[in-house]
Symmetry: C3
Subunit: 520 residues, 3 copies
Amino acid sequence: MRMPWTWAAPLASPLVVIVVIVMSVAAAAATMPPAAAAVGGSLLVPRVGMETIDADALVAILQQLRNHEQALDASFLGLCGILVFLMQTGFAMLTAGSVRSKNVQSLLFKNLIDCCTGAVAFYLFGFGLAYGASGNGFLSYSQFALSNVDVATSRDFFFQWAVSAAASTIVSGAIAERAAVHAYLLYSLVITGFLYPVVAHAVWDTKGWLSAHNVSPLLGSGMIDFAGSSIVHVVGGLSGLWGALIVGPRTGRFVNGVATPFPGHNVALIVLGCLLLWTGWFGFNAGAMLRVSTPVPHELFGGTVAVLSTGESVLFSPTLAVKHTLVSTTLGATGAALSGLVLSKVMIKVFDVCFIVNCLLGGLVSITAGAATMEPYAALLVGAFGALVYTGTSRAMTYFEVDDPVDGTGVHLGCGLWGTLSVGFFSTERLQAIAGFNHTHYGLAYGGGGRLLLCQVIGIAVIGAMVTVTIAPLFLLLRAFGILRVTADQEEAGIDEICHGGAAYPEDVRPWDTIVRENS
Amino acid sequence: MRMPWTWAAPLASPLVVIVVIVMSVAAAAATMPPAAAAVGGSLLVPRVGMETIDADALVAILQQLRNHEQALDASFLGLCGILVFLMQTGFAMLTAGSVRSKNVQSLLFKNLIDCCTGAVAFYLFGFGLAYGASGNGFLSYSQFALSNVDVATSRDFFFQWAVSAAASTIVSGAIAERAAVHAYLLYSLVITGFLYPVVAHAVWDTKGWLSAHNVSPLLGSGMIDFAGSSIVHVVGGLSGLWGALIVGPRTGRFVNGVATPFPGHNVALIVLGCLLLWTGWFGFNAGAMLRVSTPVPHELFGGTVAVLSTGESVLFSPTLAVKHTLVSTTLGATGAALSGLVLSKVMIKVFDVCFIVNCLLGGLVSITAGAATMEPYAALLVGAFGALVYTGTSRAMTYFEVDDPVDGTGVHLGCGLWGTLSVGFFSTERLQAIAGFNHTHYGLAYGGGGRLLLCQVIGIAVIGAMVTVTIAPLFLLLRAFGILRVTADQEEAGIDEICHGGAAYPEDVRPWDTIVRENS
Amino acid sequence: MRMPWTWAAPLASPLVVIVVIVMSVAAAAATMPPAAAAVGGSLLVPRVGMETIDADALVAILQQLRNHEQALDASFLGLCGILVFLMQTGFAMLTAGSVRSKNVQSLLFKNLIDCCTGAVAFYLFGFGLAYGASGNGFLSYSQFALSNVDVATSRDFFFQWAVSAAASTIVSGAIAERAAVHAYLLYSLVITGFLYPVVAHAVWDTKGWLSAHNVSPLLGSGMIDFAGSSIVHVVGGLSGLWGALIVGPRTGRFVNGVATPFPGHNVALIVLGCLLLWTGWFGFNAGAMLRVSTPVPHELFGGTVAVLSTGESVLFSPTLAVKHTLVSTTLGATGAALSGLVLSKVMIKVFDVCFIVNCLLGGLVSITAGAATMEPYAALLVGAFGALVYTGTSRAMTYFEVDDPVDGTGVHLGCGLWGTLSVGFFSTERLQAIAGFNHTHYGLAYGGGGRLLLCQVIGIAVIGAMVTVTIAPLFLLLRAFGILRVTADQEEAGIDEICHGGAAYPEDVRPWDTIVRENS
């Protein structure tokens, strides 16, 4: 009897072997990295091999990469926050050096205490108003007193507080040598507990109605203020201007239309302050990126690639943005200082160190908004022009007899406005993409249309209005209650003598007193 | 003839094919990530695929992750160490500003040189005594002069030296304006070469008998002093107190029960010092974590998860602990400054800047022990109460006629004790687990039992005894040999004139001298 | 009819099954990590499993590791650059404190402005000359004004600028109190725009003819100047010496062979400057590694292992090199300070703070060249001897009546030369390998042959010649045109009065003026 299928058996067996071999070869072939593997350069082509990895280990590797990212960003942002806090030392020395020695303690006190009242106000209210998880376009309303804050995903409180403290401190100089201490304390609570947070929310929070990070940004563009030319410096500078206007000039500063200069008592402290501010400013601008790690554009890591109008693909890269920011911060400051050098020689005929210091600081303020999104040459120009803006504002203050002892209005308000506007002109599509900004609208100078500039103008107008309606009534009210300004006698004697128990340099007084006594 | 098994052939072949197919499908199915893969969030689910990786590459990837961890931690800790070193500038300016101008060079000299003698003593002896690989609960005894130190696994010498230098420097202020230079040099060798290392070993080394990291900790709990309220500040502060007691008050400070204030000559230097100290303190407290990276809880990475009494699983996370530490350091300092603001107004009637500076520093000392393990609101309260502790200690010093020119006893000893105790009350189970501490015993205020508090008390008592038996005999011996204090004439003329070749501000003397000469 | 092969079917089928089983076992066995897996310790042995990973994900993981490496290095180097910039504050305070009060503004101005002119010059020319992509052994000639700079692969502009600014600033002290401002501005453009970049290119760029990183280094060894004892300090110090020689001593400094000391007006500023310089120096030396991440020695990551003459395999590890650098920088400075302490007591009979400050800074300069490649004890000795070199150079300056108001020639030139030479004696094979240097030639003291020392000598000679032919003619030309020095009247009145609009401490003048007026 025939068994009709037995002939198939000898064929079937080799066939199975062939199938196994073909499958093995196919599997091996599949380990050849595809063309996409070339992205990372030749180093990144994994070798063909036979190993497998268990799912747990793979998940652990991916989680460890994420942990490293978080640790890297926490370390970077924490250290940047410490540098931002170093600016408090800078502000204290700059303003203390800029006043007469009889008011030195007063300035030191204000600088020291405003970052303390600010910390408590920002902890209780400010952080929640600015960056709380729940909120609308105008403010957030959760996570007050750091409740329910998931440290891993929320904005970094420490860095944000240090930035808010800078905004608050700016005012101390403008109303120096005649404003009462209590008024200043109240003011600093309002700015860090309410005003600054609401402004920061509008521009920096992803929910903010002015923010370029909003999913549906204003005019399709939103406002770009990378590190806070408007949020920190216009807020601080305009608050100071309102203070200076409402408290009035120091006695004897403007007499019959003649302005008498009241030189600061110690230029060494001024330069110390300026250099420490500049040092901290690098951390301020670089930290504004809020991270330094660059995620790979793969679903595992969540990185993104933007396609520019030129067709170029650009990776969102905080690493590059941070490096770039340090360069533009350098060039913005130096452009302004050199511009100030020339201005000083031409206008004042000498190299006035205090004037150049203010120009340099004005350059830093100017480049703060566009530090991440302007080319180096533009940073140099924006800084250089910032020195002119400072000079003009400062002259206008004198012309209108508004007395700002440390000239902070020119530095922070004038250059803050200029810096915010300059983004609308000089921000580039490519750098916006690298720094993670909406890049469909960019600087007018590069053909990016006027929408970004328009958003900058709207932002400035709104922030100006917010500051004015909050701060001006506060100072007017304080004046109405007679607690805004020390008395004329107290001003003459010096605030240190009245409010702080004596002179900042008690020994310096002795020779002078002795002379007067001995000669009389 | 029949061949009985041939019928099986046609069946066998398809069966093998089926086996192969089933195995392939099973293998593919196995690449579906298990439920555990969800741990890291949806981003972390690896896609099913056909690739394998060779063992070499896998080992290299795991090693690179470990290398990144080490580089991240080395970078973080190195930069924190540099910030700790910045505190030397802070101490130098604070103490120099707090004395009369005739002793400024003396203070500057001591601050400059003690971190130098300390470095050599710590290099030769201290590091080996504190953290050497071989040792028992009381001290280590290997790796002197950094011999056989495996940099990859040992404690970081640089950071530890910077911390030890802070402990040493604290004393310079307490014995200022009358202690002889040679005595101070000898003292600073003893503290960094022996006393501080032995205390640090007991509490911070994993072998230390007081350490909460000991595998078999004291009372099952061990003592928690995160960044050194006791190890740095009680050691420095109590050493200073013994010094101040044994060297005696400055001539004229206490006459017939009346204390004459000797105001510091330069408040600007004091505030400069305070702000630089605060800036560096952030690095001090954050760096005390010794790392910033968070290892994944998988055998490949060695991370750990703790299960709290509530059943909650908490990951050991230096990243979160560092972020938390920066927040509590901010709030501890500001709570104390605002508390000091009120105290100053109530008690002194004016805003005394030097008093508020000391309150603020007292707040920093207070929060140092619990910076990683206290909630933000507790940090604020511990700081605020620290200002009261400082004030009380400072008043007691005056009452008992102990003269501490910079009031460091109140700041470092008083608040150091309070800070160490406060951990026993306010340390939370959850934050202890995050920071890697034994979490079975935690703060009394949260129902954590009294064992942690008891350990804190024992720790303080032991440290106090160790300081006393080391430092008091040293100072007594120096006094017995007559080399502890300058002569009355030298004290009157100023130590700068006698020991340092002249005044710190040589030009300032001229007008005064001239006046005296011209008028006589 | 017989079918001759049917007997094979029953055998074939089990054979296939066996083949499949054997292959599966083999595959499983292959997942057992090979011996090499032990490199990273037991934690790194991946478990056997059944998972596979798709090629995209694997490439993404590798790319993310590379991104982390870049972010880590960018963060580290950026923060180190900020610390280097802090040295500008240190230099400003040190030099301002070291001069008479009538010239304080002048020094502050020079320090402030030279890092600004330097930034523009370095941006436009210097960076391209030093590190441009195209170039030869003597200079690069591309990427001027940061054009076509691939931020991911190029040297970090920010860090390099901060280092170049240090070189430029050194000179301001040497020609203080009598050189004209315009001359200084011109000089600082030349040094940062041309001289420093060309020297840095020769030694630090991989294309440089003196560089130890050159693929074909000089004498098979090349010169090692890790952080710039020669490139920064010899360049700055020798430029200053030429300036001091050509501009001549201050009026009244040397009269009939007698040197009158002109003490600095403020020792507190000097110590402030010294401590800030030291703080920043840690970032300077650590940052000179240019990275902190350690790549695994696998083709995926590009790490390297060197085999020493002892047969030991040593991994190139920037992480370890950075940690080591911080330790040797600490010990170099403290060795010098303690050496200076003894020298001061023996030679000057008192503890001269300014002298000890200069010794300490000399120690920092001395250890800068060998910070990464010398053992800790050698760092201590090199620093200690550096204090002697400073003292000798300083005495020689006085003997030859060359007037350097801040004694920077001793600190920067003397110790810069010594530090560069010391590498030829004390650099070790093992540390050179860790830091990535050619390790076939190392320190003479360890039997490494004389080639490294010879390269150091050649390097110094060449750099000395380059500085001389550039700077001496410049200063001679300025003198020939009569614009190098202020007039005798101006010098008497003080440069602040003439060039900067008045005194740095305007109030200090009043008592004195009043006295004179009242008494006359």
